[in-house]
């Protein structure tokens, strides 16, 4: 083809000699590279001019070793990228200095990407070709792009503190940019303004271990410290289902309860009406006629129905086995008061004694009421094998634990995330690790 005349068949990689120290400087970004930093003396060189003029001699505080070496290649999002540039940037906040690393990745067809690392948290970044539009999310500023809302997280002035490798733009130690981060985990939109030009980029949170694998790095990725701005919460999408599971388990529990309830005999074995006159000096205690409890060991319910009116009555009971003399002692107060403000208590009450063996039984009853009271009429009714629901209430309470724990942990994760933002509570200050 004639086009081979105007375009060489193969674009060759270049290298240059550093005009400051003479060391070879390998260029991996072809003609895209505008500035290159000598790996030996760290001078910033103009790679677009034939003289490779020195633009800046080393201004950093100390040499920084990139965790992913320059020249490393790895596959990310289906594309092979080569690490061609590295910079460390810092933010001064009060007296603290926070710094993070940025790696420039290159593929001659698919372009430039970035990796950022802060305290073991990595993000994979590309320039955004859409322009986010400002909006709000509750009380916070937010931006919207491609149908997703990103909430403002922080604003800062980022300064370049160390640079090595090559860049398709002008780079100097000391360069400053106004940055803003907006989050929608695992994504983050960041704007960077320099000289009135704003660049937007889209970051996706990435596991360090995945990068170590992709770039075939020795050892393992440094452990991540704390919670990062766009780190996906391990509880995302788990709190809702936990509550849904809770709901279904409750439905199941209720069904079992119903089944349990209808399977009980729940048979009345004794009922009798009495009247108690408190004024009488005679012994109030009496015994009922004998009644038969049959079947396996099972519950017995003593129901009390009274005609109380602004009064109380207390019963001491003993359920006594006629043959063995074994007694179950228990008591119950019934009280019922009412006036124009409302009512308190109730006229009826009951006691359930669990696991009573079969046999002939009678009740010993000793009522007691306010001495001023007139007669109190009441009925005692004994039922055998009544359903009890205590275990079900305990089970229902236990079922609440997992969804509550998940909700609490999820909220805790979000609190730790926002503690690092511009919206942190004023008192909190647990950061400061990782600076030098």
């Amino acid at each position: 083809m004639s086009s081979t005349l105007v375009s060489p068949p193969m674009v060759k990689a270049r290298s240059l000699a550093c005009p400051n120290c003479g060391a070879p400087v390998e260029l991996r970004g072809f003609a895209h590279t505008l500035n290159a930093v000598c790996p030996n003396c760290l001078s910033v060189l103009d790679a677009s001019s034939p003289e490779f003029q020195v633009l800046q001699t080393f201004q950093g505080k100390q040499r920084v070793q990139p965790k992913i070496p320059l020249g490393s290649r790895g596959q990310l999002a289906g594309t092979t990228f080569e690490v061609i540039g590295f910079q460390q940037r810092e933010v001064v906040s009060d007296e603290d200095v926070f710094c993070w690393d940025e790696y420039l990745l290159f593929n001659p067809y698919r372009g430039f990407r970035y990796l950022t690392e802060y305290q073991g948290h990595w993000t994979f970044v590309r320039v955004l070709s859409a322009l986010p539009e400002p909006t709000r999310s509750g009380s916070k500023a937010a931006v919207r792009a491609a149908g997703r809302t990103y909430v403002h997280f922080d604003s800062m002035t980022a300064k370049t503190s160390f640079v090595v490798g090559e860049f398709p733009w002008q780079v100097r130690v000391g360069d400053a940019a106004e940055c803003q981060d907006f989050i929608s985990p695992p994504y983050m939109l960041s704007s960077e303004a320099t000289d009135g030009e704003v660049t937007w980029s889209l970051a996706e949170y990435t596991d360090g271990s995945k990068l170590w694998q992709a770039f075939k790095l020795p050892g393992s990725a440094p452990a991540a410290y704390g919670v990062f701005a766009n780190q996906p919460s391990p509880y995302t999408g788990k709190v809702g289902p936990a509550w849904r599971t809770w709901l279904w388990l409750n439905v199941a529990l209720f069904a079992i309860m119903m089944l349990f309830s209808v399977s009980r005999a729940n048979r009345q074995v004794f009922a009798e009406n009495y009247t108690y006159y408190s004024g009488h000096s005679t012994e109030a205690a009496f015994v009922t006629p004998t009644f038969e409890l049959t079947g396996r060991d099972s519950s017995v319910e003593v129901g009390i129905h009274t005609d109380l009116d602004n009064n109380w009555i207390y019963f001491s009971f003993a359920l006594i086995n006629e043959d063995s003399g074994q007694a179950y002692d228990f008591g119950r107060e019934v009280s019922y008061y009412h006036d124009s403000d409302g009512t308190e208590g109730g006229r009826n009450n009951s006691v359930v004694i669990p696991a009573v063996p079969a046999g002939k039984y009678y009740l010993r009853v000793e009522p007691e009421t306010s001495p001023s009271a007139a007669a109190v009429g009441y009925q005692l009714a004994v039922r055998r094998d009544v359903p009890t629901y205590t275990l079900f209430w305990i089970a229902a309470a236990l079922l609440l634990i997992p969804p509550i724990l998940k909700s609490v942990r999820s909220a805790g994760f979000e609190t730790r995330r926002w503690r690092e933002s511009d919206y942190a509570p004023a008192a909190s200050s647990d950061s400061g690790g990782g600076d030098d």
Binding site: S3, M10, V11, G29, F30, A31, P108, Y109, P168
Partner: protein
Amino acid sequence: MSAPAANCPSCGAPVTFRWSSAVQTTCEFCHSILVRTDVDLKKVGEVADLPADASPIQIGTEGVYQNKGFVVVGRILYEYEQGGWNEWHVVFNDGTSGWLADAQLEYDVSWLTQPPSALPAEGDLATGGEFAWNGQTYRITSITKTRYKGVQGELPFEYWDKTDLQFADLRTSGGEFATIDYSENPPLLFLGRAVDFDDLHFKNVRLFEGWSA
């Protein structure tokens, strides 16, 4: 599509056209800039050597956009203080032509469009300025003063001997893209959208040492 052939009035080499509507082309041998007249080709200037660039696109690169095949037939090269970019002139298989911008390997496809509303005067441009076009909100992301660095191949208009130029780039939140080009009066509007390299299914791209396409 016919490929009208002629000879370079400067060096006599054969000049073929990939696009029948081309107004201007360059001679691949002597780098003369040639403009088509009714009867012949007229030399109007000469292209200086284009600076080395690393765009993976070249004249003859083929691709597909929205199910329409296209071939790259020409380009305009611009330079500004932060680098340079290419506007590749592409011709679709239905005979229409458009532009494929490659700025540091970020790609946009656009077409010359009749402005839906009046374009701002060059002096009234401001970053953040908003325009509602075709139901979308376009905002100005950058205003760039550029230098014309050269041309290559077939273009839909006469384009040579330019000096300082001004462009305004606009984008929407959904990835639509626009450029207002102040090289003519009234200014020209190009509308299109951002695309990924892999969206265009390229063939015949340039090769880079140590890389496969």
